[in-house]
Chain length 208, copies 2
C-alpha cells in the first residue's frame, strides 16, 4: 500500500483490477479515490500454497504471558487504539520523558482485537500495522508522521489462523534508521503458539 | 516490484504513469509488458529530503575488511553473478553439502559492481537484490525459485552515495520463514563508512 495523499474521514471509491492471473497466482492493482483524486494505491498478490519443506528461522522471543502484563491505557490516545488490547513487554510509547530516554525504538507487545474476535487475514493485516510510529517510542516528542509505503507478507495460511483463535498475538517492531524526514519499521507478528503469522515493512514520513 | 509472470530474454515495453505528484513527493505506477502481457508491475515513490533529527538504530556488523577475504568464484554460476565481486564473511551458497549443514540462511558479504563504478541509486537497487536466494544458503539443493514481490527502501541520499564511491558495500540478508512454497528475505546494505544505504524485503516462490 502506498499513501499518495491525505485520506479524509468519509466516503471513498475503490478501483480494483486484475493485472494478471493464472491457476495458482493473482496480481491486482487497486486505487483508492477521494474527491476524484488518488489518495492511495495498492498491489495485492495472492497465491495458493502447496505443502513443501518448511522451516522457521526467526525466533519467538522469550516473553511473559499476556495475562501477566498490565493493559496499556488507550484513553486519550488516537481513535484506532480503542480497537486493540495492548500489553507491552518492552518499548511503550510515552510522551512524558522517561529518564534515561530509550536508546532504541524496539517494541515487543501482546495485541488483540477489542472486542476479541477470531483472527483472519483482515485483522492480521491491520495488526501488522498497529504499532505506534517508531519515532514516538524513540523520542518522547509529538511529531507529525504519515506512513508512505507499507508491505505485509503473510506467512500463515487459514489453518494457522484458525489455530490462533481470538488469543493475543505477539508483535515485535523496530526501525533501522531515522534520516532526514523518513524512517523505516520492520515488524513480526507471532501467534502465542509460536507460529510466525506475518512480517511487515513500512517507510514513514516525519516532519520537523 | 511484483513479478506477475516469467520475463524472457529480449525486448520489452515499459508503461510508466504518474499517479499523484506534488512539490515534495511523486507516486508512479509502472508496467513491464512482453508479448502484450504484463510480466511485472512496480510502484515508485520519490520524495525530497529535508534535514531533520536523524539516528541509525541498526548496527554495522563486526566484519573483516573486504580486501582480506577471498573473492567468491562465480564461474559456473548464474550470468548475473559475473556483474559482482562478492566476498563472503558468512553464509556462502554451496551445492556440495557442507557438514554439518547450516542451521540458518543468514549471509554477510562484501559486494561491489564488476567492473567497479561509483555507486548510484540504480546500482544500489540492484545490489539490494543481489543476494543468493536464502533457500540455497539454507539447503545445498537445487530448487526452482522466483521472486514474487520485492521492495527496497533507500536510506541514503546522493551525498551518502558519493561518499561510498566505488568501494565494496556490506550486504546482510536473512529469512524469517520458509513455508509451503514461499520464503521471505530481509536485507541491509551498508557503506564501508558505516552508513546504512538501503533495506530491502522480498517474498520468493520455491517449487518442490
Amino acid at each position: 500500500v502506498n499513501y499518495a495523499g491525505p485520506i479524509a474521514d468519509g466516503e471513498f471509491d475503490l478501483r480494483a483490477q486484475p493485472v494478471r492471473t493464472n491457476r495458482s497466482t493473482q496480481h491486482w492493482w487497486v486505487e483508492l479515490l477521494q474527491n476524484e483524486q488518488v489518495a492511495a494505491t495498492a498491489t495485492g498478490v495472492f497465491a495458493s500454497r502447496r505443502q513443501t519443506w518448511s522451516s522457521v528461522e526467526a525466533r519467538f522471543p522469550e516473553v511473559p504471558q499476556a495475562a501477566t502484563l498490565p493493559r496499556y491505557p488507550n484513553v486519550g490516545r488516537a481513535q484506532w487504539t480503542q480497537c486493540y488490547d495492548m500489553r507491552f513487554v518492552q518499548g511503550e510509547m510515552q510522551f512524558s520523558a522517561p529518564a534515561p530516554p530509550p536508546q532504541d525504538s524496539a517494541s515487543t507487545l501482546w495485541i488483540r482485537d477489542e472486542p476479541p474476535r477470531p483472527l483472519d487475514f483482515v485483522s492480521l493485516l491491520a495488526i501488522s500495522d498497529a504499532f505506534f510510529p517508531r519515532i514516538f517510542v524513540r523520542r518522547p516528542l509529538w511529531t507529525p508522521i504519515g506512513t508512505v509505503s507499507f508491505t505485509t507478507y503473510f506467512h500463515a495460511d487459514a489453518t494457522t489462523l484458525d489455530a490462533a483463535g481470538d488469543a493475543a498475538v505477539l508483535g515485535v517492531a523496530r526501525a533501522h534508521q531515522f534520516r532526514n524526514g523518513y524512517f523505516d519499521q520492520s515488524a513480526e507478528v507471532w501467534a502465542a503458539t509460536g507460529a510466525l503469522l506475518a512480517t511487515s515493512h513500512q517507510i514513514v514520513y516525519y516532519k520537523e
